[in-house]
């Protein structure tokens, strides 16, 4: 049956294909705003609440949060924790143990801006840089802080 043209439901695109298109748009020189999905960049970025503005990667460095293709068609938006030659290691701020690896060429986009609770933070700005420097990499501290964050969220 014909569907009335104005009856459009909200759609969710499959991540692998969608992010591949996003990568093409970024390579063509556009910046792209995406809504955050998942909890692996907690506590700064929350699932479905926040947005990130992505741009062409240029020269990336340790500490940058990037969109990277870690396996064919599988993308993550995580922080770079080390670069050795061509080998990049990533880890989500909200992840206690897991890391991912890719090559420099697999870094699809860098962060231009982060929009948290509707407020915009430049990736070059003080607030994001302070947060990036202060958020611990030590797994134990992370586990404790993330647990506290989840408890605080429950009481809100």
């Amino acid at each position: 049956m014909r569907q009335a043209p104005h009856k459009t439901a909200s759609v969710e695109l499959p991540n692998d294909k969608f992010l591949k298109e996003v990568r093409t748009l970024i390579a063509a020189g556009h910046d792209v705003t995406l809504r955050v999905r998942g909890v692996s960049m907690r506590p700064f970025l929350e699932d479905r609440r926040d947005q990130i503005v992505l741009t062409q990667p240029g020269v990336v460095k340790v500490g940058d949060a990037v969109l990277a293709e870690i396996a064919p068609g599988k993308y993550v938006y995580h922080r770079i924790i080390s670069i050795e030659g061509d080998k990049v290691t990533l880890r989500g701020d909200g992840n206690v143990y897991g890391t991912e690896q890719c090559r420099l060429a697999d870094v699809a986009a860098a962060t231009k801006e982060l929009i948290r609770k509707g407020r915009s933070y430049s990736a070059q700005g003080k607030a994001w840089r302070y947060y990036s420097a202060l958020w611990p990499s030590w797994s134990f501290a992370r586990r404790v802080l993330l647990k506290l964050y989840r408890m605080l969220k429950l009481y809100k």
């Binding site: 043209p5 695109l13 556009h30 792209v32 705003t33």
Partner: protein, 89 residues
């Protein structure tokens, strides 16, 4: 009415998505997706002047639908396109 400059209909993963290619920043947190019949209408009127009446006429050509329904649907669609800023009156 007419489609605003810089908006383009693209196929992404089997969905019809309107992208603002004229703008520097493409915001997917506010993406507009069109269903099959709306996407067909979009392609028909791209680059042309149109009215809810001409949209309704197109709908009646393509689909088995009576005039009242076609006009109601076309009017609602045109209003929606204007309200999200992809079409100018």
């Amino acid at each position: 009415m007419k489609i605003n400059k810089g908006f383009e209909l693209r196929e992404m993963c089997g969905e019809h998505i309107i992208i603002g290619t004229g703008v520097e920043n493409i915001d997917f947190s506010k993406v507009i997706s069109l269903n099959e019949s709306a996407a067909w209408l979009w392609r028909e009127v791209e680059g042309k002047e149109f009215t809810p009446q001409s949209l309704a006429a197109l709908l009646m050509e393509q689909y088995d639908v009576d005039e009242a329904t076609a006009l109601a649907d076309a009017t609602a669609l045109a209003a929606q396109w204007v309200s999200v800023g992809i079409v100018a009156e």
